[in-house]
């Protein structure tokens, strides 16, 4: 049947067109974004972390979080890999050492405060914002609780207060935003006894990491994790152990999250602009076809009537 084929082709063609337009529209932004110029970052030197969990304790105190199920001095907790929870913005995990030094490897995990946060891109009410300090903050006064930010985060960081009925919130590391705008250090950075955490301008932290690579080339894997991952993060990591052996994903790519959906979003204006014209056109064509069919039918009836009339008159004349 021609009509169903046309319908299918019409729909698919238009949809395909809008995808093509969508891709090129996203690429039309030739701008390159370098982030807020003086934003802060934290450099986590994994070779210096001893797994003491004092940073977790500090974070808990600074953020007035509820007391943990097991005390922070309990190091047996490290035998199982943990993720962030609504009560723990940061966790230290233990891994087998596959690098040059001896003993197990520990690293501290928390929100990476991405330069182009997937959570901020995903939030349909702008509850998550990348501030000019570098911190990605959460505004619980507008959050609807859709949890799309949790779907979006490639690092599996945001947590949700599922047990709260009236005030459930997303919970995650804030980079101690209220402290850093006052010139203070984030709680974990200040508390770390091994100086495994350094705080400063992002460009300086990258320089610091490279300097350590230069000074101790055998100690480190030659890669700053977070320099480019997902378009770059504000929490940078250097390690003696390959990052994938620490459960840190090396397959995330360098594309910033907002770019992942930019193409799809750009199809919206194309559909809004062109589909009314396309559909109105289809309507006009089908109306015209109907009209022609009706006119032809009327003509055929009229011709038949004329014939009948002519035949009748002839018969009347004959009789």
């Amino acid at each position: 049947m021609t009509i169903s084929r046309r319908k299918f082709l019409g729909w698919l063609g238009a949809a395909g067109m809008s995808t093509a337009f969508g891709k090129s529209a996203a690429a039309a932004t030739h701008e390159h974004f370098t982030g807020y110029p003086n934003s802060f970052a934290i450099l986590h030197d994994i070779t210096l972390c001893v797994g003491c969990r004092i940073c977790e304790d500090a974070c808990n105190k600074v953020n007035h979080l509820p007391p943990p199920d097991k005390p922070f001095t309990d190091l047996a907790v490290l035998d199982k890999h943990r993720r962030t929870t609504t009560k723990a913005y940061t966790v230290v995990n233990k891994y087998e050492n596959k690098g040059p030094s001896k003993g197990p490897v520990f690293y501290k995990k928390q929100c990476n405060h991405c330069l182009e946060p997937a959570c901020a891109s995903a939030c349909f009410v702008r509850a998550l914002t990348k501030t000019d300090t570098g911190a990605v903050t959460y505004d619980s006064s507008v959050c609807v609780g859709c949890r799309y930010c949790m779907i979006a985060c490639p690092f599996e960081i945001p947590t949700y207060e599922y047990d709260q009925v009236l005030t459930p919130r997303i919970q995650k590391c804030t980079m101690c935003y209220p402290r850093i705008i006052k010139g203070q250090l984030p709680g974990c950075v200040e508390a770390c006894p091994m100086e495994a955490l350094s705080f400063g301008k992002r460009k300086d932290m990258i320089k610091l990491a490279r300097m350590r690579f230069r000074k101790h080339p055998d100690r480190y894997v030659d890669h700053i994790y977070g320099e480019h991952e997902m378009g770059g993060t504000s929490w940078l990591y250097v390690s003696g152990t390959p990052f994938k052996d620490l459960g840190m994903r090396e397959d995330l790519g360098v594309t910033p999250a907002p770019q992942l959906t930019a193409g799809a979003l750009s199809s919206v204006p194309v559909i809004a602009g062109l589909w009314p014209a396309l559909l109105a056109g289809i309507y006009a064509v089908s109306k015209r076809k109907e009209k022609i069919a009706r006119t032809e039918q009327e003509q055929a009836v009229a011709a038949a009537m004329d014939k009948k009339g002519a035949a009748k008159t002839q018969t009347e004349e004959e009789s």
Partner: protein, 390 residues
């Protein structure tokens, strides 16, 4: 228009009423649990699995299966296929109830449902695909309500209002297709932001196209399915036109669905090619992908075609069930099965019975409302005062 209520119909209805009573009662209790204990009290959602059954079924499947509204109204009013006219009102009703129930389900799922107007009225997260979904779905629900309203107005005797709304039909239909294209595809686009979490066989930059095309397949198939069930339970409400056009609708929509399924199959294969993901087909997930693609896309396409060729209404009707299940399977795969595929088994999600209970409760509300409307309002027949409906 005689309303013959045979003994057989009455007994079926009371069995349904019995089940409905239980489901609705249980649903009210589960609603109480949800809003006194939070999501933790009734779901297995976790920090690794923030979206569960209510998103994959109530939202994703709900919206896809309600697509019959825009597909049917476009076919009749824009493409001029007048012989399907009697399918429009049932399709619009299904769509309207479908979207209304999606909205109801969302109120259960989000943490603070009273803040649902915030993205529109307080702060707009315009970079979010979910913003676009919300805006479109809300607008389209309004359009569907308006498209449905003539039936209600005819029932209530509001002649002037009804005639005014009917004048808007073409406009509403065009808007319906525009908005549906946007949000049907955007529901797929939601997952574009998580390439690291969705299995490569399902993650593709073509996801929006896949979701849009499958919404057409779902719409066409649901019209066939709904027509089959209506004839089984509400034949006594149907007028001559409705009964006469029914077979043509089944054949016509079956033919269309067959072809769209074939096109979808081709696009899916080309999608694998463009990602160079052939090697994934050899894996366990690959096998499951082939089950979805061959058993629930290629097979219904072929069966629909056979049904049309040998003129078997029965084959087409059963195939519509297969096609609908295929769309449901696809949504579940994208949202729950292929999503978080890299997480260890103990972190994977499976819905709790209470979640399933609320989903069934919501469907039951839809069925009860459908029956209420169809047995009172001119959906399956033309109101005698408005016979100029064509």
């Amino acid at each position: 228009m005689s309303q013959v209520t045979t003994g057989e119909q009455r007994s079926i209805f009371s069995l349904f009423n019995f089940i409905a009573f239980i489901v609705l009662g249980l649903g009210i209790y589960l609603t109480y649990l949800r809003f006194t204990g939070g999501l933790a009290a009734v779901t297995n959602l976790s920090d690794y699995n923030p979206w569960g059954l209510w998103i994959s079924f109530d939202l994703l499947c709900g919206v896809a299966l309600a697509a019959g509204g825009y597909v049917t109204s476009a076919s009749v009013y824009l493409f001029g296929m007048k012989k399907y006219h009697s399918a429009v009102r049932p399709a619009i009703l299904t769509a309207f109830l479908g979207y209304a129930l999606v909205f109801l389900a969302i109120n259960y799922d989000v943490g603070r449902p009273w803040r649902l107007p915030y993205p529109l009225l307080v702060q707009q997260g315009t970079t979010s695909v979910l913003f676009e979904v919300g805006l479109c779905v809300a607008t389209y629900l309004t359009i569907l309500f308006i498209e449905f309203s003539p039936a209600a107005m005819e029932w209530l005797g509001l002649k002037k209002a009804r005639n005014l709304v009917v004048k808007l039909t073409i406009l509403l239909t065009i808007f319906g297709v525009v908005l549906s294209t946007m949000h049907q595809s955007s529901l797929g686009s939601l997952f574009l932001i998580a390439p690291s979490k969705l299995h490569p066989l399902w993650y593709s930059s073509y996801i929006p196209i896949y979701f849009f095309v499958t919404s057409i397949i779902a719409g066409l198939s649901m019209v066939i399915l709904e027509s089959t069930l209506s004839h089984r339970f509400f034949a006594y409400k149907m007028d001559e036109t409705h009964l006469k056009e029914a077979n043509d609708i089944t054949f016509g929509f079956g033919k269309a669905a067959s072809y769209v399924l074939a096109g979808y199959f081709a696009v899916k294969v080309m999608g694998i090619s463009s990602g160079n993901n052939w090697h994934y087909l050899k894996t366990e997930y690959g096998t499951w992908y082939l089950v979805e693609l061959l058993g629930f896309v290629a097979l219904p396409s072929f069966l629909y075609a056979m049904g049309v060729r040998i003129k078997s209404l029965g084959l087409i009707r059963w195939t519509s069930v297969l096609a609908v299940l295929g769309v449901i399977l696809n949504r579940f795969n994208v949202c729950l099965v292929a999503f978080n595929w890299q997480l260890p088994p103990d972190e994977r999600y499976f819905p709790r019975w209470t979640e399933i209970g609320i989903s069934i409760f919501i469907v039951m509300i839809g069925l009860v409302l459908y029956r209420f409307i169809v047995t009172r309002m001119p959906i399956l027949y033309e109101h005698p005062d408005y016979k100029d409906a064509h």
